[in-house]
C-alpha cells in the first residue's frame, strides 16, 4: 500500500508556499490577515478565515515536512520538528520542554491525546478572570465542531502494555481511570506520533486545516522568523520578519514585510509573548509573558516481568484524573496520570545516571514501563508559573521557578506512580530522579522516595505543554487579551493559541486550543467580513 504525501500532492497542484530560506531578494506581501504560527491555533484560524473568503498568509519559522519525510527515527526527527532540537529548557535548565517547530507546530509531533477543557478549569476562569462567556455549555458546540473536523473519537484498539499497566494498577488500588480519545483517522497503531505521523492518520494541522486553507488560496511562508510587529497609535502596521538561513536555525539576510488588515499571533506560549516583547507592545499591567504554565511532569519507570515494548502502539490511551480531584482546585497541586511512549533516545536521555547503571537499565528497555504525572499548575496562589523574557539575541527564554508547592506534588506523584506500578505487577521501580535507584517493593520505594531531595537538576522535570503568557481576562488589568482573543491595547491584533490560557488546562491542551480558536476565529471572520462565518466541517 502506497502512502501518498498530501504535502507533496498539494505543492504539485500549485499551493502558494514560499520557503524563505531560498529567497534571493527581500519580499513584501499584502493580505487581509497575517497569521504568525501554524500550530493548533494558527491552523484552525487559517482554515476558518480562508473559508470565509479572506486572503490569508501563514508565517512559520520551521520547515514544511510531510509523511515522506517522517522516517520514525529520533535522530532526524527531533532537530527537524522540535524547538531547539528537542532540548529547549527553562532559564535554570531545571525543566526540559518538548515543543513543536515545523508546519503544524506541536500538532505534527504530539501524541494525539484529546480532552475537552475540564469544566472545573472553565469554572475557575469564570470566577477568577471574569471569563463568563467560556462556560462548559457555551464551549461544548465548539469542541463538538473540532472533534468532528479532526476525527476525535474513542480509540477502539486495546491499550498497549505500557498503558495497560496504568489501568491495571489503578484498578488494583481503586483509582478511577478511563480511555483517552484520539485525533486519528485510519491509524495503524504504530507508536511513532512524536516523530511525525508517517501514515497521515493523525489529524494534525499539517494534514487537515492547513491543506484546506492552502487549497482555498491561502499563502504559506516557511523558514520565516517574525522579528517584531510594527505598531503605532494602537494599531499594527506591518510584520517585520526575516528569512532563516538554509540550516534553519540562523537568521539569513533576506527581510520580509507583511502588511495586513488584521494580525493573528499563534506562535505558541513562549513564541507569542516573545514576538510581543520584541515589538515592545503596550503592556501597562505587566501581564505579558507572565503566568506561563508547563504542567511540569514527573516520570517513574518500572521493570515488568513480561515484555512491554513501549515504543509500539498508540502512545497514550489510558489516563487517571483521580489525583486532580482529591483536593480543591486551588489547594495542594493535583496531577494527571498517563503513560509516555518509550523510544531509545528520549528515554536514554531522560533516565538518570551514566555508565554501567545506565547501560544496565537500558538493557531492560523492552521490559520497561513508564508512567508520567503532569502537575496542574496555575491554580494554587503560590503556583503562578513562569515568565517569558528575551535573551540578548532576542530569542525567548522562560524563567520558571519550581516552588515548594510544586515539589510537594512532585513527591506525591512519584509515590503514587510507584505504588501503581507495583500494584500492576512491576518487579522493580525506579523514580526518574538523579538520586533514584531500583526498588524491589512498594514499601522500600516509599521510604526511599520520601527521602529524595526535591530540587532543580536533581529531580528530573520535563514538560510537553506550554500554556499562558498572553493570558485572557475580562479586564485589561488581569490579562493581555480579552475573552475572544483580541489584544487589549492593539486593536487589529488577536492571539489564538495556548498562550491565552490564564492557568494550565489540567489535561493535554490540544483540543482546548482547537475549540477556543474555532470560536474566536469564527467571531473574527464575522467581524472582518461583515457576515457570519461559514462552518468548516
Amino acid at each position: 500500500m502506497t502512502i501518498r504525501d498530501p504535502i507533496r500532492d498539494g505543492l504539485a497542484r500549485g499551493w502558494k508556499v514560499t520557503h524563505a530560506s531560498t529567497l534571493t531578494d527581500d519580499l513584501a506581501i499584502e493580505c487581509d490577515v497575517a497569521i504568525v504560527g501554524t500550530g493548533a491555533g494558527g491552523g484552525v484560524t487559517a482554515e476558518i478565515l480562508a473559508t470565509a473568503g479572506l486572503d490569508v498568509v501563514m508565517i512559520e519559522e520551521g520547515g514544511l515536512h510531510g509523511s515522506d519525510d517522517f522516517k520514525m527515527r529520533e535522530g532526524g526527527a527531533y532537530p527537524a520538528l522540535y524547538q531547539e532540537s528537542g532540548s529547549r529548557k527553562t532559564l535554570d535548565k531545571g525543566i526540559n520542554i518538548l515543543q513543536g517547530r515545523s508546519v503544524g507546530g506541536s500538532t505534527t509531533v504530539n501524541w494525539t491525546s484529546s480532552f475537552r477543557t475540564p469544566p472545573e478549569t472553565l469554572a475557575f476562569w469564570q470566577s477568577r478572570f471574569g471569563l463568563a462567556e467560556l462556560g462548559e455549555a457555551q464551549m461544548a458546540p465548539w469542541f463538538e465542531h473540532m472533534e468532528r473536523r479532526l476525527g476525535i473519537a474513542p480509540w477502539p484498539v486495546p491499550p498497549n502494555e505500557n498503558n495497560a499497566v496504568l489501568a491495571r494498577g489503578a484498578d488494583k488500588l481503586g483509582l478511577s481511570h478511563a480511555l483517552i480519545r484520539r485525533n486519528v483517522r485510519g491509524c495503524w497503531n504504530l507508536g511513532y506520533c512524536g516523530m511525525g505521523c508517517p501514515t497521515n492518520a493523525k489529524q494534525s494541522m499539517l494534514v487537515t486545516t492547513i491543506p484546506a486553507a492552502l487549497d482555498r488560496g491561502a499563502r504559506l511562508l516557511t523558514r520565516t522568523r517574525v522579528d517584531a510587529l510594527r505598531w503605532r497609535a494602537g494599531r499594527i502596521e506591518a510584520i517585520d520578519a526575516r528569512a532563516m538561513a538554509a540550516n534553519g536555525v540562523d537568521p539569513g539576510p533576506q527581510r520580509i514585510t507583511v502588511r495586513a488588515r488584521h494580525y493573528v499571533l499563534a506562535a505558541g506560549a513562549i513564541g507569542s509573548p516573545a514576538v510581543l516583547l520584541r515589538s515592545r507592545a503596550p503592556d501597562p499591567h505587566r501581564n505579558l509573558g507572565a503566568r506561563t504554565f508547563l504542567h511540569p511532569v514527573l516520570i517513574s519507570a518500572a521493570l515488568m516481568p513480561e515484555p512491554v515494548n513501549g515504543f509500539q502502539g498508540a502512545p497514550q490511551t489510558v489516563y487517571s484524573d483521580h489525583f486532580l480531584h482529591t483536593a480543591p482546585i486551588d489547594g495542594p497541586l493535583g496531577y494527571k496520570l498517563e503513560a509516555p511512549p518509550l523510544h531509545p533516545v528520549l528515554f536514554g536521555m531522560t533516565v538518570q545516571g551514566f555508565g554501567k547503571t545506565h547501560a544496565e537499565l537500558m538493557r531492560q528497555f523492552t521490559h520497561t514501563q513508564a508512567l508520567l504525572a503532569l502537575v496542574r499548575d496555575g491554580f494554587h496562589p503560590e503556583s503562578d508559573g513562569g515568565r517569558v523574557g528575551l535573551r540578548n539575541d532576542g530569542s525567548p527564554v522562560l524563567a520558571y521557578p519550581l516552588r515548594p508547592v510544586f515539589w510537594d506534588a512532585a513527591k506525591r506523584a512519584l509515590l503514587t506512580m510507584a505504588e501503581i506500578q507495583f500494584a500492576a505487577g512491576a518487579k522493580q521501580v525506579v523514580p526518574v530522579h538523579e538520586q533514584g535507584v531500583l526498588h524491589s517493593s512498594w514499601a522500600e520505594a516509599r521510604e526511599a522516595i520520601r527521602r529524595l531531595a526535591f530540587e532543580p537538576l536533581v529531580a528530573r522535570v520535563v514538560s510537553a505543554h506550554v500554556m499562558g503568557g498572553c493570558g485572557m481576562a475580562a479586564t485589561p488589568e488581569q490579562g493581555v487579551v480579552d475573552a475572544t482573543g483580541r489584544h487589549w491595547q492593539l486593536e487589529n491584533l488577536s492571539v489564538h493559541d495556548g498562550s491565552v490560557f490564564p492557568t494550565s488546562i489540567g489535561a493535554n491542551p490540544q483540543l482546548s486550543i482547537y475549540g477556543l480558536t474555532a470560536r474566536n476565529a469564527s467571531r473574527l471572520a464575522a467581524a472582518l467580513t461583515g457576515r457570519s462565518a461559514v462552518p468548516i466541517s
Binding site: 520514525m72 527515527r73 551514566f354 530569542s395
Partner: protein, 172 residues
C-alpha cells in the same frame, strides 16, 4: 570535599563560565565554535574522552569496534550541536572551552591530565562530582554532557541490538 569547599568551587565555576567568555582568546574560541558547524577539534577530543565513561557498559567491548563507536558518537554530538540555535551553540561552546582550560579542568573538573590522557577513573569521578554538585550550573553542565552523549549513542542503530529495540516498523 566539604560543603564549604564545594561552595567555593561553585563560586569559582560560576565565575569561570562568566569569565571564560571575557578572556579575549577564549571569547574568540567561543565565537569561533558558535559560528562553526559542530564541534571544534578540541571539543571533539573532550567528547571522545568522556563518551567511553558515560557509555561504559553500553559501547562494544572489542577495542576496534569500540573506537569506531566513540567516533560515531563524537560525530553525532557534533551534528547535534551544529543544528542548535545560536544561543545554545554558544553555551555548549563555553562549556567545552572551560573544560579545555587546564586550570578549570584540573581544579573544577578534578581531571589532572589533558582529556585524551585522562584515566577513566578520573573522568568517572568528574561526572559523579558534577552530577551531584551543590552548584546548579555544574549539575546542568553534567546533564548537557549526559544528554548529548547518550542521545547521540542511542540515535545510532548500532546501539539498538543490545537493548532489544527493533527499530521502526516497515510500512509496506
Amino acid at each position: 570535599m566539604k560543603r564549604r569547599e564545594l561552595l567555593r568551587a561553585g563560586a569559582v565555576a560560576s565565575a569561570g563560565f562568566a569569565l571564560a567568555g571575557r578572556i579575549p582568546a577564549v571569547a574568540a574560541r567561543v565565537a569561533e565554535s558558535a559560528a562553526a558547524p559542530g564541534l571544534s577539534t578540541a571539543d571533539r577530543a573532550i567528547v571522545a574522552a568522556i563518551a567511553p565513561v558515560m557509555l561504559a557498559g553500553a559501547l562494544p567491548a572489542e577495542a576496534q569496534r569500540r573506537q569506531a563507536a566513540v567516533q560515531q558518537v563524537v560525530a553525532g554530538v557534533s551534528q547535534l550541536v551544529a543544528g542548535l540555535p545560536p544561543h545554545l551553540r554558544k553555551e555548549v561552546g563555553e562549556l567545552f572551552v572551560l573544560l579545555d582550560l587546564a586550570p578549570a579542568r584540573r581544579f573544577l573538573a578534578g581531571v589532572s591530565q589533558p582529556w585524551p590522557e585522562a584515566s577513566p577513573e578520573e573522568i568517572n569521578a568528574f561526572l559523579e562530582r558534577w552530577r551531584d554538585h551543590p552548584v546548579p550550573l555544574l549539575r546542568s553542565a553534567y546533564l548537557a554532557l549526559h544528554d548529548m552523549i547518550i542521545g547521540a549513542w542511542y540515535a545510532l542503530p548500532e546501539s539498538w541490538p543490545a537493548i532489544g529495540y527493533p527499530g521502526a516498523p516497515k510500512l509496506r
